[in-house]
Structure formats: C-alpha cells, structure tokens
C-alpha cells in the first residue's frame, strides 16, 4: 500500500482513560493504515476498544499520544471548532440505534448535515432526495422515525451519513439491533456505497455474517490487532 492510497493512518496511538486516579489503557502504540476505498470490519470482544477506535477515527475523541492523519493531514491536534467542521466534511457516522431526531421527518433528518454546507435550500432538497433514493426510501421522505421499521430507520441514518458526501463512513454495530433480513439489506446498501460510490467504510460488528460483506476483517483484542490482520 503506497502512502497515496492511505486515507487514514494511526501512528503509535495511545488511548487511556483516567477515572478517579485509576488509569485504564485501551490502546498502546497502535498503528493502523486504512486504504482509500477499503471496507473494513472490526470485530472483537466487548470492551476491546472498537467504539473508541471509531471515535478516534471520526474526530470525536482524541488520542492520549501519537498521531492521526486523514488524507495526510493531522487531525488529532485540531481545536474542537475546526474538528467539527472537518467531521462535517469528511465523516459519516452510523450508529447501532440510528440516533435519528424523533421529531423530524426522514427528509429533515437527512438534511441535517447539509445545514453545515453552503448549499441553498433547493440544492439541499435535491441532495436529500438523492440520498433517500440510494437507500430506497424515496417514498418515505415525509415519514417520522416512529412510523418506520428499524431497518428503514437505519437506512434513513445511512442516507444522513452519506448526504454530504463524506469519504469515510464509520458504522458502530449498524445491524446490531436488526433481524437477519433487515441486517442483510443494510449491509447490501453499505456494500453498494463502498463499491459504486467509493466510500471507505469501517464497520464494527459482532456478527461474522456481517463481517463477510467487508473486504477485510480486523480482530481487536486487548487493544491490539491480531497478527493476521496486520499481514493483510
């Protein structure tokens, strides 16, 4: 992998949490390179640091030491306001419980990231329609989350994650709350986004069947990736 292909690179990243004098170390000297266009499944036992890894990649948490570069640019030291702006442009988050705003319609939820862009109202509406079409929910634009199934809500969340056209999608157990068929539908959408639209995806999952949709799987245990992943 040449450095041009690398979208995100973690170098010697430490992550520690200190709680009432007790310090727990999640990562120590963690190195990771994520190629542009990759689709990575991250697996590992509960508490191994999977969510923490996504938070670091997404710029909503900071490493205790080491550096994180995105497209060659360091993001770990950016002030919060710059980081928020950076997230808006480059990251799409997808959560296990969708995290939609219950009082907004599907279209209004999807529009949220566009409010951070310079797009006018008409352009925003067009982008929202397109994003909902990608996840097959064009006919649900005016529906509220409570009027939709879990699978449909997660598809709205995916539309929200991609509407501003970020390069990296970070999914934390996106199918963790769904049954098999709904899960497969979501995973198909993610695969489509990866293959057809070139999105780089990092997906945390406990489900080996879900991991099969990814191009490769990283096993995280006690803050380290297992050997065979590093070779991959």
């Amino acid at each position: 992998m040449t450095s041009d292909d690398v979208l995100v690179r973690l170098t010697a990243v430490d992550k520690r949490f200190t709680k009432s004098k007790e310090t727990i170390t999640i990562f120590e000297k963690l190195d990771l390179a994520i190629a542009s266009g990759d689709f990575i499944a991250v697996m590992g036992p509960s508490g191994s640091g999977k969510t923490t890894l996504l938070n670091l990649l997404g710029g909503i948490d900071r490493p205790s030491a080491g550096e994180i570069r995105f497209a060659g640019e360091r993001i770990d030291g950016l002030p919060e306001s710059r980081l928020a702006h950076w997230r808006a442009g480059h990251i799409g988050f997808i959560f296990q419980f969708y995290n939609l705003m219950p009082m907004l319609t599907a279209a209004q939820n999807v529009e949220l990231p566009l409010l951070l862009t310079s797009l006018g109202g008409k352009d925003r509406r067009r982008r929202v329609e397109a994003a909902l079409a990608v996840v097959n929910l064009a006919d649900r634009a005016r529906h509220y989350p409570r009027e939709m199934s879990g699978g449909q809500q997660q598809r709205v969340a995916i539309a929200r994650a991609v509407v501003a056209d970020p390069g990296l999608l970070l999914c934390d157990e996106p199918t963790g709350d769904l049954d098999r068929s709904n899960a497969d539908e979501i995973l198909e959408v993610l695969r489509l986004l990866n293959r057809e639209m070139g999105k780089t995806i990092v997906m945390v999952t406990h489900d080996p069947a879900a991991a099969k949709y990814a191009k490769r799987t990283l096993h995280l245990d006690k803050g380290r990736f297992s050997e065979r992943d590093l070779a991959a």
Binding site: R87, I91, N99
Partner: protein, 395 residues
C-alpha cells in the same frame, strides 16, 4: 455565518419540537412563571388603578388649601378669618355676580358596611357649600337630585353605592345619632369623589358639633398660572401660612404613599416567587438537556457546533417563560383587570378604584418572566454546550 444560523434554526426546531416529550414538566414551568407574573401584575395593576382613580379627580385650575404642615384633610383646620382672606386673594376666580368661587369644606369619617363582607369601614362624609359640586370636574347626577341646603339630605358617589350597603336612593342612613336621607347618586368620572358622601356644610357642622369648623378650602383659579400668585399671597401674609396646592399636586401627594406601598409589596413578593419559579425552570431545563443528550451528541458528531446547542436550550427556556409571562399577563387581564376594589386612602377613608393593567405593565411582567427564563436556561444551556460527545452518544 449562514451555516451557523441554519444550525441554530435547526437546533431550536429540534428543541421546541421535543417539548411534547416533556409536556408536564414544561407545563409546570410555564405555570410557575405565569403565577409569578400574575402576582406582580395584580399588584402593579392595583397601584396603577389606584393612581388613576386619585389622579383622575385632579385639575390644574383648582386650588386646595389646608393648614400648613397637614398632609391630609382630616388633620387640617382652617378658621373663618382665613377663609375670608382666601376669598379676597389674587388668582381666585369669581362668578358673574362677583362672588368668589370658593368652597370651604368639612371632612368627617362615618361608618359603613361593605356589601361583600358585611365588615365595617370608614367612609368620608363631606360637608360642602353651594359651590362645592361646581368646583369639581365632571360631577353629574346619575339618580335623584342634589341635597337641599339646610336639610338632612345626602348625595352619594356611584362607587360608594356599589361597594357599601344601605345607600340606595331614598333610603335613610344613620351616622351616630343623626339620620340622613339619600336623595341623589352622583358620578365623578371614576375619581375619588365617587367614594364620598356629600351633605350641606352648615347641617354637617351643626349635627356633628363642628360649628365654625372648616378643614379645607377649595377655590377655582382664574387660570393655571394663577396658582403662583395665590401661593405668593399666602406666603406673604402671616395670618395665612397655609398649604396651597393645585388639586393635581394634592392628589399626586395623596396617592404616592399608597402606590409606593403597593409596589413595594408587589415587587419583593413577585421576586421571591420568581426564585421559586427559577428553581423550577432550572430543573426543567436540566431535565431537557439530559433527555436530549443523545440528540445533542449526535448533532455534534455530525459537525454541529456547541453554540447552537447552547442557543437551542436557552431559546427553549425563554419560550417556556415567555409563554408563562403571556399567560400570566392574560390571566391578570381576565381575572383582575377592571376588578373594583376599595382601599384605605391617606385620610383613612375608602377609595374605590379598579385594577388597571396597561400594556406597559404587562411588558414589565413579561420582562420578569424572560429574566427567569434567561437565568433558568443559562446554566443548563452551558451544560448542553459542554456535553462531551463520546459520553453523550452512549446516552
């Protein structure tokens, strides 16, 4: 900048649209703030109504003369000689026959019974001369006729009739050992005089054993500037040394103590209650932030700033308190505005007035409500802005 406005608009929308999820808690804040405003505004409307009633009776071209240093009619005495000097004073107007337009008066307190409660109250009985009614603004007889000079007849103000028992036209009332017949009911444009009983001065003097006893002199001036001349004349003659005021000045003095007192009761009470409402608002808004933790964190993860989270929370608080303020002002208007009451005036007599809520007063109430909302929303809003994203996403 545009993006910031869009973020703020979206956050406010999300906040306000989530209000139904916290309906009862939010409603309790609205009600608490509303009650504070009702308390404040009812006091202010009372003070205002009282001031209007008292001020409404004053004119610029009527002079009121009391003994020097006596703040009210009850404490004043004026001699017949002094009255004669005033009748000859410069600035005092005369009628076509050349008679000075002057009314020497006696002012007494008699007992009356309140219609509503049956409790005793002090009512003012005024002995007036033939010029007395004409020396007051907009006196008209609503029922009956004027008392006959020399007879035991009285006319009563409309406000007094409404508030006290036994003053209906034609009825007989007893003051001490004397009996009087009500022969007329007069209106006085809502002024303090509507709370008075009038009778012929010589009759009152003799029946109450106050022969040759006067308390005030009322004089029509030749114009608004004439008061200066009359004051100078009074100051220069050692036999006078009386207090000379225009009727307007006199009534303003009379009402200022009472209105001050009402306001001095109303504001502290309302502010003390406002602290209670503030505690409620803080509780509601902290709960709101707690309930919206995941939403706030999600928006932040998407790239929204901390400031919109701050503004959204603050606006929610301000909307709730403004709602309380408007409801409070509305409730005060519906339940108190126009309500007739009577209160102890400066002269230990009843002044009938009606609570008067003005837009300016309502605004004061709403401003107090907004202050409660601002302070009650500020600290929760800071918490919302400082919410750590990672912890927030975990709910």
């Amino acid at each position: 900048m545009r993006s910031l406005l869009l973020q703020i608009a979206a956050t406010i929308k999300i906040n306000l649209k989530s209000l139904p999820q916290r309906f009862w808690l939010s409603l309790s804040t609205v009600v608490a703030v509303g009650l504070v405003v009702v308390v404040l505004l009812s006091f202010l409307a009372m003070a205002n109504g009282f001031r209007q009633a008292v001020k409404g009776s004053g004119s610029e071209d009527i002079a009121i003369v009391l003994r020097g240093g006596s703040r009210s009619e009850l404490n004043s005495t004026i001699s017949r000689d002094q009255i004669r000097l005033i009748e000859e004073a410069p600035g005092v107007a005369r009628n076509a026959e050349g008679k000075p337009l002057v009314s020497a008066e006696l002012y007494l307190v008699v007992d009356g019974l309140k219609r509503a409660t049956g409790t005793k109250a002090n009512l003012p009985l005024r002995g007036i001369g033939p010029m007395g009614a004409a020396l007051r603004k907009s006196i008209t007889l609503a029922q009956g006729r004027m008392f006959e000079p020399g007879s035991n007849e009285i006319v009563v103000g409309k406000g007094l009739l409404a508030e006290y028992r036994g003053f209906e036209l034609g009825s007989t009332v007893k003051f001490g050992t004397t009996r009087w017949t009500v022969v007329g009911v007069f209106e006085a444009g809502g002024s303090v005089f509507e709370s008075e009983i009038w009778a012929d001065l010589p009759v009152v003097q003799s029946l109450f054993n106050r022969t040759n006893f006067f308390q005030t002199v009322r004089a029509r001036l030749t114009g608004p500037q004439a008061i200066a001349a009359l004051k100078r004349y009074n100051d220069e003659d050692p036999r006078l040394k009386l207090d000379v005021k225009t009727e307007n000045e006199y009534f303003a003095d009379q009402s200022s103590n009472t209105t001050d007192l009402i306001q001095k009761l109303g504001w502290p009470l309302a502010i003390a209650m406002a602290f209670g409402a503030l505690a409620g608002a803080l509780n509601t808004m902290y709960s709101s932030v707690a309930a919206r933790t995941v939403e706030i964190a999600t928006l932040r993860a998407i790239g929204f700033g901390a400031f919109p989270a701050f503004v959204g929370t603050l606006v929610e608080s301000l909307v709730l308190s403004a709602l309380g303020g408007v409801l409070g002002a509305g409730a005060t208007f519906v339940f108190f505005h126009g309500l007739t009451a009577s209160t102890l005036g400066e002269s230990f007599t009843q002044v009938v007035f009606s609570f008067t809520l003005t837009p300016a007063l309502a605004l004061q109430g709403i401003v107090l409500a907004l202050v409660v909302g601002l302070v009650g929303g500020l600290f929760p809003a800071i918490r919302a802005a400082r919410l750590p994203i990672v912890a927030g996403l975990q709910g």
